[in-house]
């Protein structure tokens, strides 16, 4: 069994928790459906978003240069980081140059991908994640399990226990309103005292150098406006051409992600506050290489909404941690192998290829098509175990010859029919662990047809 399969099996052992996880995320998918129904031209909007992103990727260098120019004109400082390590270094330098020690960060999958937190912590810098879900997993020392709802896998009883231990909240008080209020109070001080605020970037507008960040909690804004220094970290693929394009994406994003018409705050940062500094760090970390892969380029259209996760029947029943990559679910499964094909070779197979992900993707990434492609490419690259490789080779020969196929089929049927049950339903028979094999018919269709119809007779008269 693959890495994902093992982890999924563990996740499913806690039946109640797994059922809750599945049901809860299905409800978010249904909320998305209701919201989408409310937009008269939803499918056309998706197509528009897809085309804007495709266009942007085809002229990415021009738009990045334009964005940089505008941002600098506005008064921001723009940095470029070709690798994860470079991003971390740049952030560290900015912090050191300003003698800062109190850092807050709002949600940024990019900084998660680059390992910013552990990098800074190793250098003695404490960094507080201010999104409630992220703060919870930070205190729990766990990675996020969903890109929008990072603590979706954690129950309120566990959060209550955690807050009691770390934040001195009332023991046994599991009321979500009380717990959220506890977090608000605790983080309030952090905002007020913050010297550096780090954010991610939902969209970067080339036309006017605007950095756009969407949150429900307001934690990005609390940090950015309280701290003298603001740092926005963006992947190169986040740049879009014009302000007017934002209309398309802001109409799609929250509806797809959480079933809301828009996030509570859609903030546009163009220049630093009086006396403050605004830094934008543009990060590559493998993205420019992905642009060159025609089969997988479209994965860069992703606006990180998480809709694919909510609709995926496999994700809902295995949880984000089963994917062992910073971004889980369907989109994670097509991004991860690009980052490390050996470590993540299991992920494109962690799917039944039902195709629902591609249908909910607001930017129309052909996710299930890319999963299928990755399976071929990974197998070519030698990802398969020698046993599986052997099985495929033999199967290929059998299916290509009608005589071998007929004989194998007959042999398989004979075995299932006549071998003792204990031999068939053994440990090697994964199908048979919780399923019966099909009942064996008297004859195959081919045998029936050849018996009842004259050979070579086109009409098939009995």
């Amino acid at each position: 069994m693959t890495n994902h399969a093992h982890r999924a099996a563990r996740f499913l052992k806690n039946e109640e928790r797994a059922a809750w996880h599945d049901k809860t995320l299905w409800m978010v998918r249904k909320k998305r459906d209701l919201m989408a129904l409310d937009v008269p031209d939803w499918e056309e909007l998706r197509e528009q978003a897809s085309q804007i992103k495709r266009h942007s990727l085809s002229k990415l260098d021009d738009y990045l240069v334009q964005f940089e120019e505008q941002a600098i004109n506005n008064g921001a400082q723009v940095h470029w980081a070709s690798t994860a390590g470079k991003l971390n270094e740049i952030v560290y330098q900015i912090i050191k140059e300003n003698n800062a020690s109190r850092i807050v960060k709002s949600k940024s999958m990019l900084t998660e991908e680059c390992g910013l937190n552990p990098f800074l912590e190793k250098r003695g810098i404490e960094i507080i994640d201010t999104d409630l879900g992220e703060r919870i997993i930070q205190l729990k020392r766990e990675p996020p399990s969903h890109i929008v709802m990072p603590a979706i896998h954690i129950k309120k009883e566990e959060i209550s226990e955690l807050f009691h231990r770390e934040l001195n909240s009332e023991e046994g008080n599991t009321d979500p309103t009380y717990l959220a209020a506890t977090a608000r109070l605790h983080l309030r001080q952090k905002f007020i005292e913050a010297e550096v605020a780090i954010t991610g970037v939902n969209f970067a507008v080339a036309e006017n150098g605007a950095v756009v960040v969407c949150t429900n909690e307001g934690n990005a804004d609390m940090g950015v406006h309280a701290a003298p220094i603001q740092i926005h970290c963006m992947g190169i693929e986040k740049v879009i051409p014009r302000l007017s394009d934002l209309a398309v994406f802001t109409r799609l994003l929250a509806r797809s992600a959480t079933g809301q018409p828009i996030t509570t705050y859609t903030s546009h940062y163009l220049n630093p506050k009086p006396g403050g500094q605004m830094h934008i760090i543009i990060v590559d970390n493998g993205r420019s290489e992905l642009i060159g892969k025609e089969d997988y380029r479209d994965s860069l259209k992703c606006i990180r909404c998480g809709a694919c996760m909510n609709t995926c029947p496999v994700y809902r029943r295995s949880g984000g941690h089963s994917y062992h990559y910073v971004i889980p679910g369907p989109i994670g499964s097509i991004l991860a192998p690009h980052s490390n094909s050996k470590e993540y070779e299991d992920l494109p197979f962690a799917s039944s290829l039902c195709g629902s992900c591609s249908d909910v993707c607001p930017v129309k990434i052909d996710i299930h098509g890319q999963l299928y492609r990755w399976r071929q490419d990974l197998s070519q690259q030698g990802a398969r175990s020698p046993i599986k490789k052997g099985i495929m080779k033999v199967s290929g020969k059998i299916l290509a010859s009608d005589k071998m196929y007929d004989w194998s089929g007959k042999a398989a049927r004979w075995c299932i029919k006549y071998l003792p049950r204990v031999l068939i339903y053994n440990r090697l028979n994964t199908w048979g662990r919780e399923r019966e094999l099909p009942e064996v018919p008297r004859e195959s269709f081919k045998e029936w047809y050849n018996k009842n119809f004259r050979e070579g007779d086109k009409n098939g008269q009995k």
Binding site: L37, S352, V360, W431, R435, P438, G460
Partner: protein, 255 residues
């Protein structure tokens, strides 16, 4: 006896998927009988083996090329190729794009049809004079649903239609039940069912529970693979529900 003017003069090649050939010949027989009742001349070329999907889905597309070419060679002489399997038809129409696109390949790809879409779109009929007084749960197999567009997936915001429902709802006495999740995947997914057995089975159990909650006596689908997986679980759990491929229901008619 129906007389389909243009189509009845065409010759129809019957493509029976490997697992139906081996384990569910009754589905192949029902398909053949149904098409003949509809006035068509159907021929089953017995050199056929498989469409190659099991290999391709496992990442061994390159090992399946010979099987693909055989398929094209065997079926290129037919005007239409009909099969009681959404996923196999989807595979031929979509994934045979890696073959050099000769006239033969193009012809086969364009003219391979799943049974329901063939009846609705090509034969242009939907009343098969069926008597089926049962509560039926329709499992909407993913490849047929999203791949062949046999119906509208619940997540797409477009006008609703369903070719399978169109054919079924005219059956006398039938009650098509509503499910809580109308088109969630059953978890078969080909080799997924073997290499991810825990999730595969959990997905199957959840589907069966949905059908049971809503009173299904019979569960049907366009893909026997889905039903094989669901039936396997149901039999192990001694659940009381029958499984019939759509061809078997459509063939239980007074034509």
């Amino acid at each position: 006896m129906f007389k389909m003017k243009i189509v009845s003069r065409s010759n129809i090649g019957l493509f029976i998927p490997c697992y139906i050939d081996q384990f569910y010949p009754k589905v192949g027989i029902a398909t053949l009988e149904l098409l003949e009742k509809l006035g068509l001349e159907v021929f089953y070329p017995s050199e056929q083996t498989c469409c190659g999907q099991p290999l391709a889905n496992s990442g061994a597309e390159d090992k399946a090329i010979k099987t693909y070419n055989n398929f094209v060679r065997i079926f290129s002489k037919f005007d239409y190729i009909v099969s009681p399997s959404g996923s196999c038809v989807y595979h031929v129409r979509e994934n045979y794009n890696i073959l050099p696109q000769t006239d033969e390949v193009r012809k086969v790809r364009q003219n391979t049809f799943e049974l329901c879409e063939f009846i609705v779109d090509i034969l242009k009929t939907d009343d098969l004079k069926i008597d089926f007084p049962h509560k039926v749960g329709v499992h909407q197999s993913c490849h047929g649903l999203r791949g062949l567009k046999l119906a509208t997936p619940s997540e797409l915001i477009v006008e609703h239609y369903s070719k399978v429902h169109r054919l079924l709802k005219k059956a006398k006495g039938i009650e098509i039940i509503n499910l809580d999740r109308e088109d969630e995947c059953c978890g078969f997914g080909g080799t997924f069912s073997i290499f991810q057995p825990d999730i595969s089975v959990k997905m199957g159990k959840d589907r069966l529970d949905d059908h049971r909650r809503n009173g299904a006596e019979v569960i049907t689908a366009t893909d026997m693979s889905c039903l094989m997986h669901l039936e396997g679980i149901a039999r192990r759990q001694n659940r009381e529900v029958r499984f019939l491929h759509i061809a078997e229901i459509l063939n239980s008619n007074r034509l």
